[in-house]
């Protein structure tokens, strides 16, 4: 009995602070309107070219989608909102200011070779920090681009350390 209650306590503690919602509830939530907006686009042109057998046809997973944001929100929050409102799947690792996007719309890192994965640019520039460490400014254009070559094929060549 003692062991069982300890186990239940551990499980409760593990899931404390987690909100569990059904898929309908999760996607049914709407964002409060805000006057400050950014545009988010998600593009996997390189993957469409890489996966020749027609596994992926449409390079634009999300095209110039406008989302509102509150002060202090990051690129990660904007992506989350945009994908949620369009019911697109995504997967990430980490928390705080070191979130890493593993996959968007079932397209994961390493799906197109060892040097493939998701990168993001803000107004055409590629920040060298995680997406949850970059604060949003009004009118920012954020694009998430899939690369098959460490960024070289989307204009962000990896220069090493």
């Amino acid at each position: 009995m003692k062991k069982l209650s300890a186990l239940i306590l551990i499980i409760v503690l593990l899931f404390a602070g987690c909100s569990v919602k059904s898929a309908e509830d999760y996607y049914g939530e709407t964002q409060k309107p805000s006057d400050k907006k950014v545009t988010v686009s998600v593009n996997c042109r390189t993957a469409v070219e890489y996966l020749k057998d027609g596994e992926r046809v449409n390079p634009d997973i999300l095209k110039d989608y406008e989302v509102g944001f509150k002060n202090g929100e990051t690129v990660f929050d904007a992506l989350k909102t945009a994908l949620k409102e369009n019911r697109i799947q995504f997967d990430y690792n980490g928390s705080g200011d070191s979130v890493y996007i593993r996959g968007i719309d079932y397209l994961y890192e390493f799906d197109c070779g060892d040097t493939s994965g998701w990168e993001f640019s803000v107004n055409g520039k590629f920040p060298s920090v995680g997406c949850s460490a970059v604060k949003l400014n009004d009118g920012d254009k954020i694009s998430w681009l899939y690369t098959c070559d460490l960024g070289a094929d989307i204009g962000n060549k990896y220069k090493g350390n």
């Binding site: 899931f15 987690c18 909100s19 569990v20 919602k21 059904s22 898929a23 509830d25 999760y26 989350k80 949620k84 799947q89 995504f90 997967d91 990430y92 996959g103 079932y106 994961y108």
Partner: protein, 284 residues
């Protein structure tokens, strides 16, 4: 009854090797399920039925644990069951976890059976040709753990009688230190005894009772052919983003049937020997 063990060690080793390697590398719920069933039934016939059934609860919990843990870490998959924060928990990841769990549990069961069937003499026989030292170390290591657990149990039981005032942790610690001392002593005695019996002397011959008979050759061929057929007709099962089971054409069916046959041969062998034995008993 345990007649499967009377097959030649090489045949036995190949059988277990083929099945375990195949169950691990072919990631398909059908294959994992077949392997699990074969292993469980085989364990039921060659081991104590009650012990196997009791252990099944533990293995089942392990399976469930793996199946539940996988969707917590892998959020791929189109069928979202529910969301925890922003992470989707998907049916696909759960089924993937179930397959993984079945593969792990089936391999554990196969090793259980393997330990029952393959004793240290067979180890020495099979690996002794390749590397006698390796075979010796292998068989001594495998013997070490059960022996340590056994001596720990007996020491702990006597300590329990000896001093009831001490707490459980202190008793375990003193039993543990006694067991370690005992096993160190055993190691010295083992090496003395090995020297006395002429270990490492040149020009020593060894004798083993194993003969590679016609039946062994037949079984070895059957195992190899079945594995080869199954390997050339593997059906890949896609999990993400949606399930994509292989088409049920002739090739897939042949692959599944040959692997199923491979996984069930030990069980069927054992059962048929048992039936033959029962029939041969005098009815007077």
């Amino acid at each position: 009854m345990n007649t499967f063990r009377n097959l030649h060690p090489v045949t036995l080793l190949c059988c277990f090797l083929y099945i375990t390697v195949f169950s691990v590398f072919n990631f398909n719920p059908i294959y994992s399920g077949l392997s699990l069933c074969g292993a469980f039934l085989f364990a039921l016939v060659i081991q104590d039925k009650k012990a196997v059934l009791r252990s099944f609860i533990g293995y089942f919990i392990l399976l469930i644990l793996i199946a539940v843990t996988n969707p917590l870490f892998s959020h791929n998959g189109a069928t979202a069951l529910f969301f925890i924060n922003d992470n989707r928990i998907t049916l696909e990841a759960f089924i993937y976890g179930v397959t993984l769990g079945m593969a792990v549990v089936s391999v554990l069961y196969w090793f259980r059976c393997f330990n029952e069937v393959f004793d240290s003499e067979k180890y020495l026989y099979v690996f002794g040709r390749v590397s006698p030292k390796l075979a010796l170390v292998f068989s001594m290591t495998l013997r070490f753990v059960p022996e340590l657990i056994g001596s720990f149990k007996s020491v702990n039981a006597s300590q329990k009688r000896f001093d009831k005032s001490r707490g459980r942790l202190r008793r375990y610690l003193s039993s543990f230190s006694a067991v370690i001392g005992q096993s160190l002593e055993d190691a010295v005695i083992t090496s003395d005894s090995m020297n006395a019996r002429g270990f490492n002397l040149k020009k020593r011959t060894s004798f083993s009772r194993f003969r590679f008979t016609f039946y062994d050759a037949v079984y070895l061929t059957v195992f190899t052919v079945l594995t080869a057929v199954a390997a050339f007709n593997t059906a890949s099962f896609e999990y993400y983003p949606t399930f994509c089971p292989p088409e049920l054409d002739l090739r897939t069916v042949i692959g599944i049937i040959s692997f199923g046959a491979l996984a069930f041969i030990p069980f069927v062998y054992e059962i048929s020997e048992e039936i033959r034995w029962k029939l041969s008993l005098s009815k007077i």
